[in-house]
Amino acid sequence: MNKCKLKVIAIVCSSVLLSSCATMEQSAGLAALGCAGVGVLTGVLTNSAGAGAGAGAGCVALAGLAIYNYHTSQTRTVQQDQQLYGYTAPVNSTEVKIRNATAYPETVRAGDILKIGMDYSVIAPNGTPSVNVQESMVLKRDGKPLKTLSERPVTRPLGGGSSEVDFKIPDKMPPGTYVIEQKVQSGTSYDIRPAVFVVGS
């Protein structure tokens, strides 16, 4: 098993196949993160442009919802990914395709850690060593975007990879059902997959 690269704290690396953690990070100063958008880690946490000023109240309540940990790893080689999902190397295009997106646990309360996971394939012509991918997350409620939680450029080897982001649920986050939409994009190819969680009262 490869040794995970730790930026701040140690976390057990649980990837199944290749067990290589490309990065693992923890953000500091979570309480200071506000709606105006604060750059954190290698990515950026920004307020959603779509939320606008009208989302003010919710925005305040969500101010503490910030990345706690970010963990990424390659979980399948090109060959394993091709075999699992039944495709062959493309001739001339790059594709990214989300295979799975999860939120765990499904129900959380203030102070809980919510784990948002995503597994996706990076598909490119044979011989391509790696591909630049933009990983993003938007928090939505009732179909409306509330907050861009993460926008992160990463360099991915071909094959299957996973990302996991931990969020700490802030005290004033209103109870209800939320959706975190996760997006990956490389060039013109992109994919989006939702994961649902409930904030209990």
């Binding site: 039944g86 495709y87 997006k183 992109y190």
Partner: protein, 249 residues
Amino acid sequence: MRKRQGVGALMPLLFVGMSVAVAGMPVAPCDHKQAAIEISLQRIVNEWPMRGSGESVSQYVQKLGIRLAFSSLYGRNIPWQFWVVRNLAPNAFSIGGGYVFITDGAVNFVRNESELAAILAHELGHELAGHFCVAPDLIDFGGLFDIFSAPKTQQHQVGVGSLTQVIDPVKEQQADQIAVTILQASGYDSHAMLEVARRLPKGDGVHPVDFQRLRALESLLAKIPPIKAQDSEDFLTIKRTLAAEQATW
């Protein structure tokens, strides 16, 4: 598994007076290609990010595609499936068996509903012309037809994903002719074909403009007066949906 059929043998009849086509006429079987078509479909679905069939954009494209297809009695015999690929580059293609693909980029690209109908109608043209039934070598290689590409006078192939796209200028013009008829029969402005072709991104080396095809289209449309087709509320909603999605990200 549903029965799939092609219409290649009916091509000479297809657009000679569509309004008097005989209801219930059986279409020519194309079953020998069906296994290869299904394999191509599976590869595309496994490889490319697609919008779910329940998404509003997919449902709208399916509805529009069916409306266009049903303007021909023969189109009613094909179990059409319209897929929306999550890709920002404008493109559309079909693989036979009634499977038609269009990208988000193409839906973004069009300025009105007639232009979107024109793109789909061109792909329907390939399907209705039986281009996938009468060219056995093409489907064996997962051949695709692309509305935006016909850069050479000879048939040639380019890679699209892991599949091979076959571009035959003659078949492209056939598909255009059928598309014009479909657009007329379904109340869309057939001149949108030309608008789309003229506005396509130029000079990218992959999709150069085929001037011969443009001239053929111009000649065909010279006899047909343009019409003012109103965009449907569904179309406007989908355009707003896509714009909102892009603003979100």
